[in-house]
Structure formats: structure tokens, C-alpha cells
């Protein structure tokens, strides 16, 4: 399903790439020549770009893309910065936190010369732009940058979890050195009272260099279970994201249901439920910001960085069967159900 859509998107994208200048420019009325967007992806084309392209097309914006890929690293980014200065595109698109930081830099960076500041930048797939230091205030970026956040708000996550099965004790397993995780755990702590549950916290063990290690994951999960947890929340922790193949089987062994905050957690990591932002929708949201900038409707620094209002609930039916923990029937009205 996903693969097919991605393929179709790519096909459409490549066709548009060949034909777009002439046709799209003819459609767009006042626009005399297509806008040029310098696009940097992190791990090749994703559904985010499909949503981005479709949104522009349906709004009659003719664009010409200069496509670049960072190939899962930051080494190529300085070269991209130089190239951007040379070709002077109308807009720069960046995918993910590392790419965005490499091109735009922190808002309080002492040396701005290494970064792009005079061309508007729209990012997608940055989890926490404030924690990453891209902006000081999400609502008013106050620099030549804005974008779309893909993370689902923590309270929304917990409410979805609660409606699948009421939370009495919630387990979390996270990396103590990841600032983003620490702040999410703090949000979860604050939700204990209003949502009436208690929290069981465990941190990944740290190696000699202070970095988290996978040792003892099974014991940590078992501890969480033995303290009475009836849910394990797989929060968007970078290290946890690499350890789904150990965490979820451990939870399964303890009959502990897991709730994922990232698409990967359920599609490959074997979580029971997940509430996520669709990449396609995130792309559309980012494109809506790009349209505002290209049409010069609002100064870039005043376009708020936003997250989606609607999210996708995914249920893993094989896991539900193993846990004998089936979803409330009305969830099937709106959830995507994985069967295989």
C-alpha cells in the first residue's frame, strides 16, 4: 500500500519534473515563470515530498525543483550552502533536524556566515524546533525560517492510549541524555493528575562514554511490568527508535501493550497502537507555508511553525490477538489496521 503510493507519487513527481515549467506556468495566471525551490532530503524522497508537491500543484503554483540528498549525514551540507548562494533559489526546503540545522543554523549561532539567512527556508519533519535551537518561539519564528512539525502532542497521545484501554500505570523507557525525551517525560508527569494515572520511569543504561546502551533492556521492561504498568509508552526517543526490535518483544513477553509515537514503532517495531502524523500530510502543511512565502502574503518571520490538527491511529491486529487486547469497536471506524 505504502510502497504503491510512494511509487505513484514519485512517478507523478518525475513526470512533473520533465513537463512542469511550460504547463504549470500556463496554469498559474499571474506567475510569469516557475519558482525555483532548492530541496534537500535526508534519506531520499519520502511521502512528505509527495504531499508537498501535490499541495503546490493543486494551488496552481508552478515550481522547478533543484533536488539534493544528504544521504543520511551532514558532510555534504556545507557544499549545499555554497550552491544555494550560487543559484539563488526562491525558497529552500529542508527535511529533518540535522539538515535544517546544517543549512539554517541555530537562531543564536555566533557565526551566521556558514548558514543561509537571506533566502526563506521551509522545513518538514523537525520534531522540536525550539529544543533544536532553530527558533526561540514556535508561534513567531522571527527569522527567515518556518516549517511543519510532525510530532503529535503528548496529551493527544495519552488520550488515544486511554481510549484504547484506560491507563492506570504508565511505563516509559527513555534516554536520560536526550533533552527532547526528558521534556516529554516531564509533560507526561504533569498529565498524571488530570488524567488520573501513575508513572513508572526507567532510563536506558549508559556506557562508559555516557552514551546509552542496549544492555538490560529486557530487565528494565520486566521491572516496569512488575511495578504494575498496564501500558508502555514508546516516546519519540532517538535511541529507543533504534531498539524497537528488543523493546517490543520484551514487552510482549511480559504481556505489556505498547503505544508508539512514531510510524516506525508500529510498522516495523511491533507496537500495539500508534498515533502519528502522516508524512504526506506533514508535506502538505509545509507546502502551505511555502505558498504563503512565495506569494509574499506574510513575512516569513511571522508564519508560525505548526503541527497537524488531525493524526492517524494505527492498530496492529496480530499484536492485539497475541495480547488478547482488542480495540474498542468504534476505533475501527477511523483507525488504520495492520493485519499482516
Amino acid at each position: 500500500m505504502i510502497r504503491r503510493r510512494a511509487f505513484l507519487g514519485m512517478a507523478a513527481g518525475s513526470v512533473a519534473g520533465v513537463l512542469s515549467p511550460g504547463i504549470a506556468a500556463a496554469q498559474s495566471g499571474g506567475q510569469t515563470k516557475p519558482y525555483r525551490i532548492y530541496r534537500i532530503t535526508y534519506r531520499g524522497r519520502t511521502e512528505v515530498e509527495d504531499g508537498f508537491d501535490d499541495y503546490l500543484a493543486s494551488n496552481g503554483i508552478a515550481v522547478e525543483f533543484i533536488e539534493r540528498d544528504a544521504e543520511r549525514g551532514v558532510a555534504k551540507l556545507p557544499g549545499f550552502v555554497d550552491e544555494i548562494r550560487e543559484v539563488k533559489p526562491d525558497l529552500v526546503y529542508t527535511w529533518g533536524t540535522p539538515v535544517t540545522l546544517g543549512i539554517a543554523g541555530r537562531y543564536d549561532a555566533p557565526d551566521k556566515a556558514k548558514f543561509i539567512t537571506d533566502i526563506p527556508i521551509v522545513f518538514a519533519l523537525v520534531a522540536s524546533p525550539v529544543a533544536a535551537g532553530l527558533v526561540a518561539d514556535r508561534m513567531v519564528p522571527n527569522r527567515n525560517l518556518t516549517g511543519a512539525v510532525h510530532v503529535v502532542p503528548t496529551d493527544t497521545q495519552l488520550r488515544a492510549m486511554h481510549s484504547y484501554r484506560p491507563i492506570t500505570k504508565l511505563g516509559v523507557l527513555y534516554t536520560a541524555t536526550e533533552q527532547n525525551s526528558v521534556s516529554i517525560v516531564q509533560e507526561v508527569r504533569d498529565l498524571q493528575k488530570p488524567m488520573n494515572f501513575s508513572l513508572i520511569e526507567r532510563q536506558f543504561r549508559a556506557g562508559a562514554d555516557g552514551r546509552p546502551v542496549a544492555d538490560g533492556i529486557e530487565e528494565l521492561v520486566a521491572e516496569i511490568k512488575h511495578e504494575g504498568a498496564n501500558w508502555l509508552y514508546l516516546l519519540p526517543d532517538t535511541f529507543l527508535g533504534t531498539q524497537y526490535n528488543r523493546v517490543t518483544p520484551a514487552a510482549m513477553a511480559q504481556s505489556l501493550p505498547t503505544f508508539g509515537a512514531a510510524e516506525l514503532a508500529i510498522r516495523q517495531g511491533g507496537a500495539l497502537v500508534a498515533l502519528i502524523s502522516r508524512y504526506y500530510s506533514v508535506g502538505q502543511l509545509a507546502a502551505s507555508k511555502a505558498v504563503k512565502i512565495l506569494r509574499k502574503e506574510t513575512p516569513v518571520g511571522e508564519i508560525p511553525i505548526e503541527t497537524l490538527k488531525r493524526f492517524s491511529l494505527i492498530i496492529n491486529m496480530p499484536v492485539a490477538k497475541k495480547l488478547d487486547l482488542y480495540p474498542p469497536i468504534d476505533m475501527l471506524n477511523y483507525a488504520e489496521v495492520l493485519t499482516g
Binding site: 482488542y326 480495540p327 474498542p328
Partner: protein, 667 residues
């Protein structure tokens, strides 16, 4: 009652009602035949979508006994569909697996009635034989039809009353005038009264008959006059005495018998205009609430009361001033100007986007209302002499009352069907209609000698310093208007909206008060006069009206207690309204110094209108602080206290003059 006019009216009405009853039965029957299949279709849709959801769950591999939250889900479906009585999932053997039911669940077990249920199989590939059964609630269809019947009866009633008005309007000056003219002539001649009558201006058979009677009477009069002239010339004292006796006996040589000739001309434009204003009653506060934006430091309820208050303040302030204006410029012109302002005001109300605009539109409507009211009242005064004033005024008041009776239910039904702005436009068209009717029906001239200002401000002193009269005005007249406007025009429409009632239901509720008034006022008026107990009646009425508010103890969120409250209000004011008006004149005449009765009545009306304007203010302020039930009890309690206080004031200063029967003049 044996007047030909009355009998004709009854016949017309009877024919109309027979036709309406026939149509209503047809409508109800048609509704019933359409309703049942429609309800079944809807139940099938609900069953189908629920069955497909269950089918999806089973297909995904959820075991039949693990359909989490299905009972709660079914319960929510029932809650959202009042026409369903139960919904259940049954297995192949008919045993219920999951279910939700209204009322007693036992119904589900026994319910196998296929005429009131819809079954849909759960289709799963290679699945079992489960079925989803949805039960229709037969009471729901009955309720829909009975609600429809209530609407039909009200439409019937209103149509009948409006038809009666039209009969008046259409025939008033023409055929009915001629019939009445002939009847009057025959009646007076039978009594031996041979005086002349004002000419009948109609071309019908009856008109011709009246004219030929007039010719014969005229000949008789001229014969008498020439005979008398002869006798006077001859100086025949005895014959002259005999002729004088004849004159005294038969009225020969006397002038014309006066009759309320043209009063009816103002009835149609007045009625139609008042109907326009009454149309807005059920939804006006709700409409204001939808436009209102919060104003810092003011409660939303108070803000809602502002446009209503503006209307009533404009009416209260402009009415005393407009009397002279309409006299100078002409009643018809002023009535038409008022109708034009109404047209502008109502149409503007439909299209304004905010509270300020609506307030301005209501102020324009208020000025129009005051102009029409004062012009029509002035027209009655112009076209009647002192003896006919009462019957003329009765015609004036009855037009307003009938409009008050018909307007709210029609307005409510219209608002439900075409929306509030559309209903405002219709009210504007009614105002236009009133303008056209005034143009056609009312005579162009008709200005008369000035009667001087109605209110002389220096008369305030003696009125205020007379405790009984001051008590009457400020403990009875003013609170009566405050409670009426606050309850009927402000609090009840808002509360009805809050409890989820339709505008049509609100409109019906607002009929309770005028119905009570129409039916009971004449009864209590004659009773109070016969027993010479006006003052006690006024106090009793105030007490009843006030105490009625405590009906909300039975539940302010239910229709029945609110209806009871309005009924009590209507009953109380029906007891007090006529004695109150009579008592004003009575006490006014008892005042020392030369305070004119006109002036006392003018001040009385001003006090009443001030009460009108205070109504929404008091209601709005209290509602913002206390909510509906407490607010009506505070206002009602205040009214009851005022009535008791008035009784105490009277008791302490009992004067023999108070018990004199009044001469019954009511402007």
C-alpha cells in the same frame, strides 16, 4: 349576538374551519404514510452501518466475544436516534450477544415483532449467522404526528383569526357597514326612535335599502319641519306643544345619530404592523445572542438585553411626544411613515452582522412601532366622540391582542422553516403591507382640533404625593410591565433555546399569555366592577402573577413548569389589568387640584412604558448573575411583594371614594 354581521362571520369561519380540518387530516395522514417507511429506511441505514462495522471487526479477526465497547457503542447510537427503541446483536439461535435498549431491557427479550424492527445479517466471509436487529420505537412516530397535530391546530386557529381580521378589513367599510347600518336603523325605528342616521357609503343591496330608509325618514323629518314651521307661524301653542311632544317621543327634527364610522379603517394597518413585531418575539433574544460579542465588564445576558431595551426605550420616550406630531401631520401619513420605518428596521435586522447594527435597526423599528401605535390610537380618538371612545378603543386593543396571539406561533414556525433573517424580511414585508393598507383604508384627512398635550409635567407632583395613586403606578402598573416583558419577551425565549426547544415551540408558549388575557380579561373586568373591588383585584392579580414564577420550582429546564408560569402570569394580569386602568381614572379624579384625567392617564401610560423598557434590563442583569430559575423567582417575588405592599398602603388609607364605581372610561 344575533346581528347578521356576527352570524355571517361565524358562517365564514365555520366553512373555513371545516376546510382546514379536512386539510389537516389529509396532511396528518399523508405525514403518517410517509413517516413510517422513512423511519424504517433510517433504521435500516443505522443497522447497515453498525453491521458493517461489526463485520469489519470480525473480518479483522476480533473474536465475537471480544467486541470491546460494543454495548457502549450501541448505547450511543440509541442516544443519537430517538426513533429507535433497541439495537442488539444476536447469534444464529437468536440469543442476544450485545444490546442497548431504552426504557426496560425486558422489551428486547420479548421483542420479536417484525413490523417494528429491522434485521441485517453480519456478512463475514465464511462467518457465522449473526444478525443485527434494530427496533423502532412506535411511540416516536406517534409523537411526531402529535407534534404535527399541535402545529396544525395552531395554524388552524391562527388562520381562523386572521381570516376574521380579513373579513373585518374586506367588508368593514363596505358590506358589513351596510348590514350594520340597516340593522341599526331597524333597531332604532322599532324602539320608536326616528332620528336620522349617518349615511351608509356602500353600493350593495343593503346600502340601497339603508338609503331608501334614510329617504323615508328624511321625508318624515322635512314634513315635520314644515308642519312645525306652519304651526309656529300660526302661533298655535297647543299644536306646537303636541309637536314638541312628538319630537321628544320620536326624535323627529333631531340631528344625526353619531356612530363610530371610520374607526375600523385603522384596524387592518394596525393589526398587520403589530403582527410584524410579534413575529419576532420567539427568536429575538436568541438572535441577539447569536450576534453578541462579549463586552468587557458586562455579562453576556446583560449585553443581550441592550437591543431589546433600546427598542422599548425608544417606544417609551417617543410615544408621549408623537401624539401632537401625528395630530399636526395627519394620522394616516404618520402611520405610513411608521410602517416605512418598520420596513427599514426589520429588513436591516435581517442583514446586520453585529450587535451595534442590530441595536440601531431595533431603534428604527421602535420609532416605527411608536408612530404606528400613536397614529392608530389618535385616529380612534379623532373618529369617535366621548361616548364611542370605549368601543373604538376596544377595537384598537383587540387588534393588538389578536396580533400578539397570532404573531409568536407564526414567527416561530417561520423561523424554524426559513431561518431568522428570512422571518425578519417577512416582518418587513408585513410592515410594507401595513403601509399599503393605510394608504387604501384610511381617509387622507382627519386632523382635528388640538386637544392639548396629554401629559402636563406639573401634574406629576400631586400624583406622586398621593400614596394610593403612587402605589398603584409604581407598585402595580410598573412591575406588571417589567414582569411581562422580562418573562415573555426575554427570559422565556432564551431559556427555551437553552433547553433545546424549537422556535415553533417557543412561539406556542408565547401564546399562553395572550390567550389567558383574551379569554379572562372581560370576565374579571365585569366581576371587579360588579363587586366594586377594583383595588383588591389589582393586588390579587399582582400577587398571582408574581407567585406564578415559583412554578419553576418544578424544574426550570422543563417546558411544563414554564408554561404553568406563563399561565399564572396571564391569569394574574387578566385579573388586574382592567381594574388597574379603571382605578387610575378613579384615583385621578379623587386628586385635589385640577389635574386632568387625560394627564393622569398619560402619566400612567408613561410609567407603564418605563416598566416595559426596564423589563429586559432587569431580566438581563439578573440572568447574568443568577441563571433562569432564580431570576424569574426574584422578579416574581418582587412583583408579589409590591402587590402586598400596595394592599397595605390602601388598607392604611382607606377612603370612601375608592369604592365608587367608575364611569368606565378607558383611553
Amino acid at each position: 349576538m344575533n346581528s347578521l354581521r356576527v352570524r355571517l362571520s361565524i358562517t365564514v369561519l365555520a366553512v373555513l374551519i371545516v376546510a382546514l380540518v379536512f386539510l389537516s387530516f389529509q396532511t396528518a395522514e399523508r405525514a403518517q404514510s410517509v413517516l413510517q417507511p422513512e423511519l424504517e429506511r433510517k433504521a435500516a441505514t443505522v443497522a447497515g452501518s453498525t453491521a458493517s462495522l461489526i463485520g469489519r471487526a470480525l473480518e479483522l479477526g476480533v473474536p465475537l466475544d471480544r467486541l470491546q465497547g460494543l454495548d457502549a457503542y450501541l448505547q450511543r447510537i440509541l442516544a443519537g436516534n430517538p426513533d429507535l427503541s433497541y439495537i442488539a446483536l444476536r447469534d444464529a439461535g437468536g440469543a442476544t450477544l450485545y444490546q442497548a435498549a431504552t426504557g426496560d431491557a425486558a422489551k428486547v427479550a420479548t421483542a420479536v415483532d417484525p413490523t417494528h424492527s429491522v434485521s441485517v445479517p453480519i456478512s463475514v466471509q465464511g462467518g457465522g449467522q449473526e444478525t443485527l436487529v434494530v427496533g423502532l420505537d412506535p411511540a416516536y412516530a406517534r409523537q411526531v404526528v402529535s407534534t404535527l397535530w399541535i402545529d396544525l391546530v395552531i395554524v388552524m386557529f391562527v388562520t381562523a383569526v386572521v381570516a376574521l381580521e380579513l373579513v373585518y378589513v374586506g367588508f368593514g367599510a363596505g358590506l358589513y357597514g351596510a348590514i350594520e347600518g340597516v340593522e341599526r336603523r331597524l333597531k332604532t325605528i322599532r324602539k320608536g326612535d326616528l332620528r336620522l342616521h349617518p349615511p351608509v357609503d356602500a353600493g350593495s343591496e343593503f346600502g340601497g335599502f339603508a338609503r331608501s330608509l334614510d329617504d323615508r325618514l328624511g321625508q318624515l323629518h322635512s314634513t315635520y319641519t314644515s308642519l312645525r314651521n306652519n304651526v309656529v307661524e300660526r302661533g298655535d301653542q297647543i299644536s306646537q306643544q303636541a309637536l314638541d311632544m312628538m319630537r321628544g317621543r320620536f326624535g323627529l327634527g333631531e340631528g344625526v345619530i353619531a356612530a363610530p364610522a371610520q374607526v375600523i379603517a385603522m384596524r387592518a394597518p394596525l393589526f398587520v404592523f403589530m403582527l410584524a413585531e410579534e413575529l419576532t418575539r420567539p427568536f429575538l433574544p436568541v438572535y441577539i445572542r447569536s450576534l453578541a460579542t462579549p463586552i468587557a465588564g458586562l455579562s453576556p445576558e446583560f449585553v443581550i438585553s441592550l437591543p431589546m431595551m433600546t427598542f422599548l426605550i425608544v417606544v417609551a420616550l417617543s410615544q408621549p411626544l408623537l401624539g401632537n406630531v401625528t395630530e399636526r401631520i395627519g394620522r394616516r401619513n404618520c402611520l405610513m411613515a411608521g410602517a416605512l420605518l418598520g420596513l427599514i428596521g426589520y429588513c436591516a435586522s435581517a442583514f446586520v452582522g453585529d450587535l451595534i447594527g442590530l441595536t440601531a435597526a431595533r431603534a428604527v423599528s421602535g420609532l416605527g412601532f411608536a408612530l404606528v401605535f400613536v397614529s392608530a390610537q389618535g385616529f380612534v380618538i379623532d373618529s369617535t366622540d366621548i361616548r364611542q371612545r370605549s368601543s373604538g378603543m376596544a377595537m384598537f386593543i383587540s387588534a393588538i391582542l389578536v396580533a400578539g396571539l397570532c404573531g409568536p406561533p407564526i414567527g416561530g414556525i417561520l423561523a424554524d422553516r426559513i431561518g431568522i433573517p428570512g422571518t425578519f424580511v417577512i416582518a418587513g414585508l408585513f410592515a410594507l403591507c401595513s403601509l399599503v393598507l393605510a394608504w387604501f383604508c384610511m381617509p387622507a384627512t382627519g386632523s382635528r382640533t388640538s386637544q392639548g398635550p396629554a401629559i402636563r409635567w406639573r401634574d406629576f407632583g400631586p400624583i406622586i404625593s398621593s400614596p394610593p395613586l403612587a402605589g398603584l403606578l409604581f407598585l402595580c402598573a410598573m412591575p406588571a410591565k417589567i414582569i411581562l416583558v422580562a418573562f415573555c419577551f426575554f427570559l422565556v425565549p432564551l431559556q427555551m433555546e437553552n433547553i433545546g426547544a424549537t422556535q415553533a415551540t417557543t412561539g406556542r408558549m408565547l401564546m399562553i399569555y395572550p390567550i389567558a388575557m383574551v379569554l379572562l380579561v372581560p370576565f374579571f373586568a365585569s366581576l371587579a366592577d360588579r363587586w366594586s373591588m377594583r383595588a383588591p383585584f389589582v393586588a390579587l392579580g399582582g400577587l398571582v402573577a408574581g407567585v406564578s414564577a415559583f412554578a419553576v420550582f418544578l424544574g426550570g429546564a422543563h417546558i411544563l413548569p414554564i408554561a404553568l408560569m406563563l399561565l399564572g402570569l396571564g391569569l394574574g394580569q387578566a385579573i388586574s389589568i382592567a381594574p388597574l386602568s379603571g382605578l387610575v381614572g378613579e384615583m385621578g379624579r379623587a386628586l385635589p387640584g385640577n389635574v386632568s384625567e387625560n394627564s393622569v392617564y398619560g402619566i400612567f401610560r408613561l410609567v407603564e412604558r418605563t416598566g416595559n423598557a426596564l423589563g429586559p434590563l432587569v431580566g438581563g442583569v439578573l440572568l447574568g448573575i443568577y441563571g433562569f430559575s432564580t431570576t424569574v423567582m426574584i422578579i416574581g417575588g418582587g412583583m408579589a411583594l409590591c402587590a402586598l405592599l400596595f394592599f397595605a398602603v390602601l388598607g392604611s388609607r382607606r377612603q370612601p371614594k375608592l369604592e365608587l364605581p367608575a364611569t368606565g372610561r378607558r383611553p
